[in-house]
Structure formats: structure tokens, C-alpha cells
Symmetry: C2
Subunit: 512 residues, 2 copies
């Protein structure tokens, strides 16, 4: 009954049926009469190994700029596949309706360029070779060829990615995600999808977003009328769920959206961001966790200098800044990363003559200004720096106390800080013993006091399941969370996270 | 100043500083005195090419079951890396405290097995070779070695992944994500991260979750007191944002969490699920979109029969069901996929003598029972089936009207249905023309009536930005969304989506 479909005519005919409707089996028509030649990307055409005599060339793209002279017009064409544009040579009458932003399909011949410094070839457009696909009225199109401030571009995130450097950043993110996926696959890690809607606030401190439906039902017994029957939040970290999975399949990772309802209006904070998290099972040496992050960061940074997207990032910045980015890549890939304890960091901060807005003191968190100083002094502004073993009192309930008896009470944890951007990674060993975990949760006011065995399920609350993980076959484990957008910003030399995230959300701002 | 750190001692010494604290620079201690030999995974040891004479073997894992005899005890050990367990041979006294679920570190010698049907070798445990890492009290551990119903396991999702087949499903998801990432990278697609918190309901119809903070501010002028200053929702699809990106960098894709607050309590619906979406720019033939999905699904299915995880899936089901899964893979990979129009599908449904709960009629949606009939009749229960060109009246506002003048008003869209699971993919060409889009939104009651140019920004509402995409350099484009969890269920022979998603959320249920 079923016949093979042809490539062009997908709708098959049911020959055995009397009610065959030929009209339904026609190919989907083209809206326009496009030429049959397969279009080539701009990146492909202008790559270092240019296409040799490709015959008839068709390119889809947008006019970045156009220069109209007496005998010729020169159009600069971009399609998002490369930072550089392709130069098209047209007759003046062909350029009449073209302006910045116009979407076009161009057909022409790929010829050596007589005097171009940038480009070995240019596209000479045929007489009928200009097809306007989408116009862009110069009187209203916001992205004219000129400098646009980041603040202005943030008001139009849906158009901002048309700016060549922002296209580069999109491809950069894609490349780094692919490299990350490959790295973890090679290491034998399982990629998981952890939940976004959760019952608990992992850190026990962060401001969370609540999730509800617009139309609540009437409250009845044992039911608060809400969709999930009890309050739910947007996840602040995948860690707790990853811990369950690390107990099941060994080493796991996830790259997942994460949410904080903090009202921070800074260049380093967003309400919605991607976090790369991994959890290692059967590990009781934090060095293994630290080694994994280091290996990962080195693996994804190493290809940058030789890659198209890496070259585009360097080409997008002024020379001195490009050099700084190269130094960041070099430090990430090739140099040793120093490591100091929190206690040592405090000593260094106390010993310096540098003035800080917040006075450093043992038992207080490190402020961005302190981290910047450490990155500069210990990492010499060139490499990431590990800071380990923070005081238990300023860290979340789930961290494992340091196992060597210390003068002060610390936990086995680490941050990685990088110059300027500060913290990009936080990791720790987790408290995998039942009673100490319950004691720690009690000390943090998360569950009522009393002997662990006397507490009811209700008293153990939303994290009863997490406590359960310690009841049967509990194993030593640890992991880390990496601020993925901050990392991308550091590697691309984009200091404000609002420029790295395509559709950024922060307090008061969730436009598109 | 900074000295290279050794592998074991990460904390560097600052020799130039008087206040060096040796205590901070000691290696992180082990909680236990584990042997130095690197542990091997169970999968590695019992693979088809078994490790030859590996010397001293250390394995971390959990007791799946234990059989105690007079002279020997036999323990079955799993670590989540494989469906099959490893057999360990112990002396009876070594097995005394071991029970199902106990986490152990075992040290022994890898020896040929005298009479095992399943396994060529077994691990003979040394005298001091049993280290109990985490106990599991048999009186309380819920996962004893016996059959557990899916309904019971759903009550303990945090422990469910310890069941061997559920570990397999985790590794299956990971492999398919990696294969998807590789496929799109090879096709030159850009992987993107689209926002989760959005201002609009893409489909214009679905029930959405709202997002808010627990503590609202006082309402003031131009401010409703909410965190984002106006109502926000969890995304129901990444499509609208992908459309913006396809206009910037060409072809794009994302694998993103998606949310529906529908109160559907079925085996095919969850409140939170992963959707794989792609959008193609400069495309006006829907065949290109359909070809891409087909190519993707064939590419990720093809390796299954030869892969570890594929073999484990087959081994987990009874023979007849395993054959059915193999037929699904074969149909997905090797057979032609038939394609019929919606109009044709309705004719087939009207012509059959089969009784349906919902009477099929042109202009009404296809119910699951209808899709099952089509999958059976047209796909012969063996292949996915494309159904194209649904009535405009039952499809979202953004779909492009079919371009051939049809007897009935249809849109250029397609679904892919598969046997039993029904719809797994929906795709369409998008309305890329400004005025028809506005007219369609008006017809759907999304914006007020009136000539497009007379509408104010406020009247255009939350989707003003989406309309904007059609104002400047608009291009023909189309794309699809694939229910990732449904696909995994279809390929793994797991019919209930609540078993495929590790921590499933549906109405009334969001436990862990």
C-alpha cells in the first residue's frame, strides 16, 4: 500500500484507495522561485581555504552595509556564520532597494578580488542575481551600521544577536557546550536532566522564585489548592538531585538552568543562568573533584586559539584587550593553578596595605574585592586560583567538615576564582553520614532539634528524601558547580553577564 | 613565589611569606584508609573483552544480592555502569554484615569462573578485601531484590535509579543527548540556551505556570510590586526565541526544559519535560524541516543495536517485547516513513469500520486513538508517520498558511506519530510576513483589531518583540519541537513517561 516517497514529493499516494486526493500530494510549493543551487555559507566561502572555482554561487544573508558608487555598488553580506562579511559587487541599479538589515538571496560568480586587503575573492552578482527576501526600512531599523552601546542593545535582545560579535558569542557558547559534552563522555560521566521545579531551596539561604498556576482550586482538606499541593520553587542548584544520581550510576553531570531571585543589579548576577554541575561517587579525596574541574577547563579552552570562533573573539577586541584574552586562555590551558586555603587568604588580605571597603576577617565571606586581590597576588592575574576550606559557619549545611583537626572549624570545599570575574566555580565534599547531616541541618534551623531517630517524616520536611540518601548504602562523594555564563564571559573577554546571555533576566528586567 | 603543586598536595606553600601555615597545606585526608589501586568499573571488568590478568582488582559498588553457603558466599555487585552484575566470591565470615544495598569496596583477584553461565570471570575477595562503606539495614531498605511495581518505585524517585534498569535508562538518556549534540554539530547547527522565564504563552492556549517571589514589594506607580514588574511564566516552548536566533546565526537548536500546567494525568504528559527544538532560517520548503528531523532520528537510533546501552535495553524486556523494540529501531533507522495529509487521514478515519470514542471530522484535532489507528494502518505499526497540513483553525497563530490554494484552509505543518506513543514531533513553517502575522494574532484574540500600523506598542503586548522580527530583514523559516522524553520512552520500550523522567512532576506530584 505504501510507496516510497521521493525527496521532493513527500506526500505519498495511496494507490489502492479510491479517494486519493492528488491535491494533497503535491510538493509544498516555494513561496518564491529560488534557484536550485544549494546556498553556501559566508563562513564557507571566505574561510582560509577559499572555495576554488565553485561555479554559480548562491548566498543567503543580510546586508551589513552598502557603499554605492557611480559604476559599482559594494555590499557587505553577513549570515551569522562568521564575524567577517563577504563582499558582493553589484551594478548600481541592483543596489537601489538595499539597505542595512535587508535579507537577500544573491547569485553570482566567485572571482579573485583585485585590490581587497581583507578578502581574496568577492562575489560578482549576476544581472538577475538579487532577490530581496525581507526589507529593512532604514528610517526605523534600529541596528544601523554604527556603534551601539551595550545598554541600548540590551533593550532589544531579540535583535541584538544580529550584531556580528553577538552572533560569534552564540557560536562560542555552542562550541563550548559541545566540547563539554565530549569531555564528559570521554571521562565516562553520565549526562543527566535534573528537575527545575523543586520542593526545596538547596543552599538554605538564597532567595527563590515560587511556581504556581494562575487559577488555583478551592482549598480542601490536605490540599492547599495549589497545582502541586504544596509550595514549589525554581531550582537554585541541581546538586542535591545529582547526589542521588551519583549514588546510582557513579559520576554524573548536568548543564541546567538555575534561578536566584536576588535583587543584585551587578555585572555578575542574573536571575536565570546556566550552571554546569558534576558529582563524583565513591570519592573521598577532594583533589579528585578539583582535578576534574581543572581538566575540564583546560580541555575546553585549549582549542580556542586555533578555532574559528576563538579567532573571531580576538578579532573583535582592541589589540591590548585581545592580548589579555590570550593570556587568560594561556593561563587556563598551560600554567599551574595555585591553591591556597581560605585561612591563608585571610592572612594575605590582613597583611596587605591595600584598603578594602569590607575589612577581611576570619569567619566572614570573601567579597569580590578580596577575590580580585587574591587573583592578582596569588594568581598574578594570569591563572585561576583555588581557595579551599572555608569556615563551616559561612557555608551551606551539606558540606563535609575538614577531616584534619584544624585550629578553626572548616569544611572541605573550594572555590575557583579568576581575575576580574572572581568566583566561577564552587565545589565541596558532601556530608554523607546520616547523623552529622541531621545535626548540621538542625544547626541551620532547617529541621527541629531532637535525636535523629525521634524525628518524624513531617519534621524532616521537604528534604526528607535527601536525608534518606544517607540511610542505605551511603558513599563518600563530592562535586562542583560552575557558573557557565560567567565562564563564557571570562573566556570571551565580555565582562558583563548581560551581554553573554542572549535573553538576560534580572530584577525588573525580563523583556523578551 | 608560586610553586608547582604536586598531584597529591594541592595546597602550595608561599615560601616567601613568614606566616606560612603548614597545616593548611597538608593533603586532604582520606576518611578511610582505601587501597591505592585505582578502582575499575563493573562494566569494564565484565565487558565482552574481559580484562586479562588485571592483577589486584578494586571495585566500588553496591550489593544487589547475596547468597550465603557453607563454604562460600556469592555476592552480586552493581555500580550503575552496567545492567549485569559482577559476581564476587567471599568467605562466609566476610559476608556476615553484607545485605542488599550495602555500599562496599572490594579487593580481590580476577579469576576464570568454573561454572558460571553468565560470566567468564569472578572476583575472589582477599582476606582483608571487604570494606563496608555504607550499610543498608535490610529491615528498612525499600529496594530489596524482588519485583517492585512502577507505582511503588514512583514514590521513591531518589532511590529508583538504583534499580539496574533505571540506571540503564539514565545512561541511555546521556548517550542520546551526546549523539544529538554531535549530530547537530556535524550539520553546522548552533546550540543555544533559550530562556525559561518568559513573558508570553507561545501556543496562546496552554495552561502556564506563573513565576513570582515569595516576598512582593509594595505596589507603586508603574510597578505591580512583582520581581519582574509584570507577570512572568515558565516557558511552554523555546520556539519563539529560536526564531529570533535563526534570523541571526542561521540554523539553531536547543534541548530545554519546558512546562505545561495541564492537569492531564496520563502516561504521556508531565508538567515538566525536555523538548528538543530546532529552527531553520532561509527555508521555504517544509521538506527541509521534515528531512532534518528524519535524519536526526535515524542518526541517533542507528547505533543502538550495537551499543552497550542498546543491548541492556533489549536484555531488560521479555523476548517478545525486546523484538518489538528491535522492530521500532529498525523502522526508525531503515524503513521509509510514510507521509499523509491531515485531510487524507480524516478520510481514512471516516472510511474505517473501527469505532472511536471521538468521532473524527475535518476541523477537529486528532485524538490519541486516531493517531494510533493511523500509525497502525499507514505505518503498519512499524515506522513513524508524517501527518501534514492541519486546519488553520486548530493550530497556533504563528503557522504559515499552506501555499497551494486548498479546498480547505490549512497550514504548512506536520506531526510525526509513532505506534503506541503517538505524537513525538510537531513542526511547521512560520508566518514570516508582518501583516498576516498581526491578522492571525488578531483572529486569535491576542491583540486588538485595527490596522497593523495603527496599533500601539502597548496594544501589541508581550509579543511585540516577536512581531518586530517581521519588520526588518524577515526571512522564511520553519522548525520543529520533539518531545525528548517521549522519544526516549519509545526507543527504550518504556510506555509511561513517569518512568523515563528521573524526577517526574505532574499534577499534585512533585515529591523530591
Amino acid at each position: 500500500m505504501v510507496q516510497p516517497r521521493s525527496r521532493l514529493v513527500r506526500c505519498i499516494k495511496f494507490a489502492a484507495h479510491a479517494h486519493t486526493h492528488p491535491a494533497n500530494c503535491r510538493p509544498f510549493s516555494s513561496q518564491r522561485d529560488f534557484p536550485a543551487t544549494t546556498p553556501l555559507s559566508v563562513a564557507h566561502l571566505i574561510s582560509d581555504e577559499p572555495v576554488d572555482n565553485p561555479g554559480l554561487v548562491v548566498v543567503n544573508g543580510f546586508i551589513r552595509s552598502i557603499r554605492k558608487q557611480k559604476h559599482y555598488a559594494f555590499a557587505s553580506i553577513g549570515d551569522g556564520s562568521s564575524l567577517k562579511a563577504l563582499q558582493a559587487v553589484l551594478a548600481p541599479h541592483q543596489a537601489e532597494s538595499l539597505s542595512t538589515g535587508t535579507a537577500v538571496r544573491l547569485t553570482g560568480t566567485w572571482k579573485p578580488s583585485p585590490n581587497s586587503r581583507d578578502q581574496s575573492h568577492e562575489l560578482h552578482i549576476h544581472e538577475a542575481g538579487v532577490e530581496i527576501i525581507g526589507t529593512a526600512d532604514p528610517a526605523t531599523f534600529p541596528l544601523q551600521k554604527k556603534y551601539h552601546s551595550p545598554e541600548f542593545l540590551r533593550t532589544i535582545p531579540h535583535l541584538r544577536t544580529r550584531v556580528p560579535f553577538n552572533s560569534t558569542l552564540l557560536r562560542f557558547r555552542s562550541d563550548i557546550v559541545a566540547a563539554t559534552t565530549q569531555f564528559f563522555a570521554q571521562q565516562g560521566y553520565t549526562q543527566t536532566h535534573t528537575p527545575i521545579i523543586t520542593s526545596s531551596d538547596c543552599e538554605g539561604a538564597g532567595e527563590v522564585f515560587t511556581v504556581e498556576t494562575a487559577h488555583k482550586d478551592k482549598k480542601v482538606k490536605d490540599d492547599d489548592g495549589s497545582f502541586f499541593r504544596s509550595p514549589k520553587y525554581l531550582t537554585v542548584s541541581s546538586q542535591l538531585h545529582l547526589e542521588a544520581l551519583a549514588q546510582s550510576v557513579g559520576n554524573v553531570w548536568t548543564l541546567s538552568p538555575t534561578f536566584r531571585a536576588e535583587k543584585s543589579d551587578t555585572s555578575r548576577h542574573l536571575s536565570e543562568f546556566y550552571m554546569l554541575e558534576a558529582e563524583l561517587g565513591f570519592v573521598d579525596d577532594m583533589n579528585e573533584v578539583m582535578d576534574l574541574v581543572e581538566k575540564l577547563l583546560r580541555a575546553i579552552t585549549k582549542p580556542l586559539p586555533g578555532s574559528q570562533v576563538g579567532k573571531e573573539i580576538l578579532a573583535s577586541h582592541p589589540t591590548s584587550r585581545a592580548h589579555m584574552i590570550e593570556r587568560r586562555w594561556h593561563g587556563m590551558t598551560n600554567l599551574e593553578w595555585p591553591c591556597i586555603t581560605y585561612t591563608h587568604a585571610i592572612k594575605l588580605l590582613e597583611a596587605t596595605s591595600r584598603k578594602f571597603d569590607h575589612k577581611p576577617a576570619w569567619g566572614l565571606g570573601l567579597q569580590a574585592e578580596h577575590e580580585r586581590f587574591i587573583a592578582e597576588m596569588v594568581g598574578e592575574g594570569k591563572t585561576p586560583v583555588f581557595i579551599t576550606k572555608y569556615p563551616k559557619s559561612i557555608k551551606p549545611f551539606y558540606m563535609l567538615p575538614s577531616s584534619i583537626s584544624e585550629k578553626f572549624e572548616t569544611v572541605d570545599c573550594f572555590d575557583i576564582i579568576v581575575p576580574e570575574v572572581c568566583e566561577i566555580v564552587g565545589g565541596s565534599m558532601r556530608e554523607h553520614r546520616l547523623e552529622p547531616l541531621i545535626t548540621s541541618m538542625q544547626a541551620n534551623g532547617m529541621i527541629p532539634l531532637g535525636s535523629p531517630s525521634s524525628l518524624t517524616d513531617e519534621q524532616l520536611g521537604a528534604l526528607k528524601w535527601y536525608i534518606d540518601l544517607r540511610r542505605w548504602g551511603s558513599i563518600p562523594h563530592g562535586g562542583f558547580g560552575l557558573g557557565f555564563d560567567r565562564l563564557l564571559g571570562y573566556l570571551a573577554g565580555v565582562e558583563n553577564i548581560r551581554e553573554i546571555v542572549t535573553f538576560p533576566r534580572w530584577v525588573g528586567r525580563c523583556g523578551c
